[in-house]
Amino acid sequence: MRLRVGTVRLFSQFVGGSIRQVLRGPAAYWAWLAVLLMLIVSGGRAYLGQVQDGLIVTAMRDPVSWGFYIGNFTFLVGVAAAAVVLVVPAYVYDWGPIREIVIFGELLAISAIMMCLLFVLVDIGRPERFWHLLPPAGRLNFPDSILAWDVLVLNIYFLINVVVVTHIVYMAFTGRHYNKRIVVPLVLLSIPTAVGIHTVTAFLYNGLAARPYWNSSILAPQFLASAFCSGPAILLFVLQLLRRFTRFEIKDDAIWKIAELMAYAMFLNLFLHGAEAFKEYYSNTEHLLYTRYWFQGLGDHKTLVPFAWTAVTLNVTAFLLFIVPAARRNRVMLNIGCFATYAGCYIEKGMGLIIPGLTPDTLGEIYEYYPSMTEVRVAAGVFAIGFLVFTLMLKVAVPIALNEFQLRRGPAGAGH
């Protein structure tokens, strides 16, 4: 009984303290929150309109039945999976400098999965029927539907990260070391699961013989390669911000190491894209249409062409910057490289994966899709929710990790 009361008191102190942490910050912090809230409100209003009038307010139609939302979903699955790129060296190779920042990768994964689930939710025509997927009341078409697999692995990955992060943060708060018997197996499990979420998401498209652009076995490896670029790119921004604005010490070594890993991943990404482009262009079958729509356009239909070449340019730039040690050690170059990686992978997944896969449609019709204002606003809102959650989680986790925000142990127990 006494233990329980103690736990409750401890927990309420944790919650109360967290709220105080979140409500304290410099002007820039509040400005950032204000921007996010504005985007959330704008996205929320756009979404309400969409719920009322239907998905007709998007630019999607029967020929291109998936668009910007599903593109963003796919991109963010990659970001979530990327936490693993930090976990592998930290735990498998026991590489010290990265270990302390693993938790930020996991927080990023949690926020990214949240955004993924939200992007699926805003894409479906009957969001109030979401529970139809959840047994026992609903029915999950497992193992036939790859979407059912995706629901499972995404949620498992989400849970693993939530448990690990909560445990580490909470233990640090109470001034104890985290329990290795819980954390290490879960972290090791998160590695195949991270590979799993992105592989399954690739199989979602890969398995459709109706869409030759996706029906290529290179898709899953290519997804993984691009994920290991885009996820760490965000993380490098975050780590630099943390280093600047908090007492958190993040060694240059760790940042350079991550940048180096990104260079290898980007090389693989470019190589796999090149392999696919070679196959399509050299064999020159009727399946070339979709690749041509992306890189060259079909007749007068050239909406996506600027996106294609921007993505290629950004990705090649990022690779060159990160492969040269002197360049990635230069702060400006490093940040340009991160931005190029993020933007390149974002365009490649957001615009370059879904839309050319569906254009021309299965009966040869070319419907030129370009996201509507509603889609852009809703997507910005979802991103803002994700960044808000990420910011607030960092706001609590960072001071705990720095021992600035901890359980106060006094003779009176809790509080002052």
């Binding site: 139609r61 139809h132 009341a137 036939d144 013989a209 299965t362 040869g364």
Partner: protein, 292 residues
């Protein structure tokens, strides 16, 4: 011994788990929508009466919703004579009238493609928006495409909720009350046969076909997928699909694949038949042939 206190805990736990099980059972069986083909017969009847009441109120006229089951020993198949089709699109509009597709936004289950005679069946050269003063156009032929009712249907396989399936008589149907509108089936269909209600479907009350089937032409809600059902409301009552009946060229043939004396069997056995995108191994129940 601790047995006394031990037993109380177990009893309390038993009570709690029984209560939880009862609550869950109530939730699962007593309330909430269920997939149509899992409903016990009496609840299906109730659900159908409720639909009829709702549609009658909405359209101001009596609407019947049938739940006619598949006929034993029947597997439907379709054959379309490419050499006869003149591209008049009467099938497209008869289908819209019969099956209560939305008029605004416009939904059509049949798409007629105009192709050039020198190029053969090539979708990348096909024109669905042909509008000459008169059909057939010189040097062209026409390939109408609708749901091919595949035996290896890629669409039903990918559905995450099991809201679409193949009936025993070979018709691929959608449960409009269970579909969550994720459109995975549309991405999976190689024939563009599935259509989404992007907006609130609208049918003028005086144009509503009041004879409906629960898995077919009953009015659909916004945000779900729909498709050709071989006019399930007609064919399960021994009638031809509307598109077969209306075709002025006699290009459309329909019948029972399991009946050796049927016209459809004669065509498959004696004509040069083909299926669309054979290499995808979808095994359609919809055949094309050259009758002349």
């Amino acid at each position: 011994m601790r047995s006394d206190s031990h037993r109380t805990t177990v009893n309390r736990r038993e009570f709690a788990s029984c209560a939880a099980a009862a609550a869950a059972g109530f939730l699962l069986t007593g309330c909430g929508p269920r997939r149509l083909h899992e409903l016990p017969p009496d609840r299906l009847k109730d659900a159908i009466r409720e639909m009829e009441r709702r549609y009658a109120q909405q359209y101001g006229t009596a609407v019947t919703v049938s739940d006619a089951p598949p006929i034993p020993g029947v597997e439907f198949a379709y054959a379309l004579d490419i050499s006869r089709c003149v591209g008049c699109r009467r099938c497209v509009h008869a289908c819209v009238e019969e099956n209560n597709q939305s008029r605004d936004p416009e939904v059509q289950w049949i798409r007629v493609l105009e192709m050039e005679k020198g190029k053969g069946v090539d979708f990348s050269e096909a024109d669905p928006y042909y509008a000459p003063p008169e059909v057939p156009e010189e040097g062209h032929f026409y390939v109408p495409v609708q749901c091919q009712q595949c035996r290896n249907a890629p669409c039903t396989k990918v559905c995450p909720t099991g809201a679409t399936w193949t009936e025993p008589d070979g018709i691929v149907v959608v449960d409009y009350d269970w579909c969550i509108g994720c459109r995975y089936c549309m991405a999976a269909c190689p024939y563009g046969a599935r259509h989404f209600n992007w907006g609130q479907p609208s049918i003028p009350a005086d144009r509503l076909n009041v004879k409906t089937h629960v898995l077919g032409n009953r009015p659909r809600p916004q945000g779900v997928v729909e498709k050709c059902t071989f006019c399930i409301q007609r064919t399960r009552n021994g009638r031809y699909p509307a598109c077969v009946e209306v075709c002025p060229a006699g290009a459309r043939k329909f019948g029972n694949l399991l009946d050796p004396d049927s016209e459809i069997r004669y065509i498959i056995e004696h004509k040069r038949v083909l299926v669309l995108k054979e290499e995808l191994n979808t095994v359609p129940r919809f055949f094309y042939f050259y009758g002349t």
